[in-house]
């Protein structure tokens, strides 16, 4: 009886321990740590069509006031619901640390808060700010990449919702070696 019990115990426990160990090993493979992620508050704006629709009015120097979009204060009313995405953009900043002995490379990012997500960098040259896309960002072995305002950032193009302070944006970062890593960015 006792032998049976220990046999059953082995059958149940050993795979559990093995599975747990594998899971640990898998997560342990990643030397990439993401922290201090935050997103800047940003309004989702009208669709590209509606923005273009008012351009005629713009060219005469008088803006169209007819679309009646609310400010952030009225965003909770859900007036934008039902649209696939607008033309407003957002930004996410994150601290990426690589504790491993090898460099890794950030290849891209995705987020459900935007139609597309790109890696960008703002550089200041002679008082002029230039924003350009980055194909990838290398994170040196034992090093860190601090994304911050006026520097490297994750750009959210075509927000699918308003980013109000207190909201959370989930961002998936794709690394060459560490694979996909997910981070929650609080909207400020």
């Amino acid at each position: 009886m006792r032998m049976w019990r220990s046999l059953i115990g082995c059958v149940v426990i050993v795979p559990l321990v093995l599975w747990g160990g594998m899971a640990r090993a898998q997560s342990g493979q990643s030397s990439i740590h993401l922290s201090q992620a935050w997103a800047r508050r940003a309004p989702m704006m009208g669709s590209a069509e509606s923005a273009q629709g008012s351009m005629g009015a713009m060219s005469s120097g008088h803006g169209s006031m007819s679309s009646g979009q609310g400010s952030m204060g009225s965003m909770g009313s859900g007036q934008m619901h039902g649209q696939a995405g607008g033309t407003g953009n957002g930004v996410v900043y994150v601290l990426i640390e690589n504790s491993g002995p090898e460099a890794d490379t950030l290849l891209g990012a995705t987020s459900d808060a935007a139609q597309s997500t790109e890696l960008h960098e703002t550089r200041q040259e002679g008082g002029v700010m230039r924003m350009r896309p980055l194909a990838k960002v290398e994170v040196p072995a034992g090093g860190r990449i601090e994304m911050k305002p006026g520097g490297q950032h994750i750009m959210l193009l075509g927000l699918t919702r308003n980013l109000n302070p207190g909201d959370t944006v989930t961002v998936h970062l794709r690394f060459e070696k560490a694979g996909e890593q997910t981070v929650e960015a609080e909207v400020r």
Partner: protein, 205 residues
């Protein structure tokens, strides 16, 4: 960028300008706190006047803003990084100024009239503070304003992004005093405390 050069030169005489300010203000004895921390334009000339369409539907005429400190900066609503950062800093500046912020007018002048309708501008700046104004106008009118303030704005189609184009632009914050004179320029990276301090000096009391 004639203005920026002048700015960097005048930076060094900010102490003198601070003294002048304190004397003109007829205020307390001169202390370090009475000295501007941003780039001072000296001598202060009248800020180039302009009239643009504001995001609240009104026509914004700079010369009608006497009695207020007007903060101007140039950007576009497509911009996710630098422009919202400046707007966000201005929210905090207003907060630091307390009741005096009622005499502060923050205006965001678009460099992208093609995309930035008044409705877009209203949504964008309104997301930060309902008192902020977005300004736009005919492309010629906007070009004229940029030239008057020495602002660079270059449109570029860039590979590797879904954005149709981006616009490189100057990131200075311009400050017009209650008498309509262009007094200060804050380069990108100026701290919120320094901006609030200097704008507070111009507002007095």
């Amino acid at each position: 960028m004639e203005l920026s050069r002048r700015c960097s030169v005048r930076w060094r005489v900010s102490l003198a300008a601070g003294l002048v300010c304190a004397v003109l203000g007829g205020a307390q004895p001169v202390t370090a706190d009475q000295t501007f921390r941003g780039g001072v334009l000296e001598p202060a000339h009248p800020a180039p006047d302009f009239a643009l369409t504001a995001s609240d539907g009104s026509t914004f005429r700079l010369h009608e803003q006497r009695g207020r400190v007007v903060v101007l900066f140039f950007g576009y609503t497509f911009c996710p990084d630098v422009c919202p950062l400046t707007l966000s800093q201005m929210v905090q500046v207003r907060s630091q100024l307390g009741a005096r912020a009622a005499r502060l007018r923050v205006a965001f002048i678009t460099v992208d009239p093609e995309r930035d309708t008044t409705a877009r501008l209203r949504t964008y700046v309104g997301a930060f503070d309902r008192s902020f104004l977005g300004l736009t106008g005919a492309p010629d009118a906007l070009t004229h304003v940029r030239q008057a303030y020495g602002v660079v704005a270059e449109k570029h189609a860039v590979a590797g992004t879904k954005a149709a184009y981006v616009i490189d632009h100057s990131a200075f914050v311009y400050v017009v005093d209650p008498d309509g004179r262009l007094r200060l320029m804050f380069p990108f990276g100026t701290s919120i405390d320094d901006m609030a301090h200097d704008i507070g000096l111009l507002l007095g009391g």
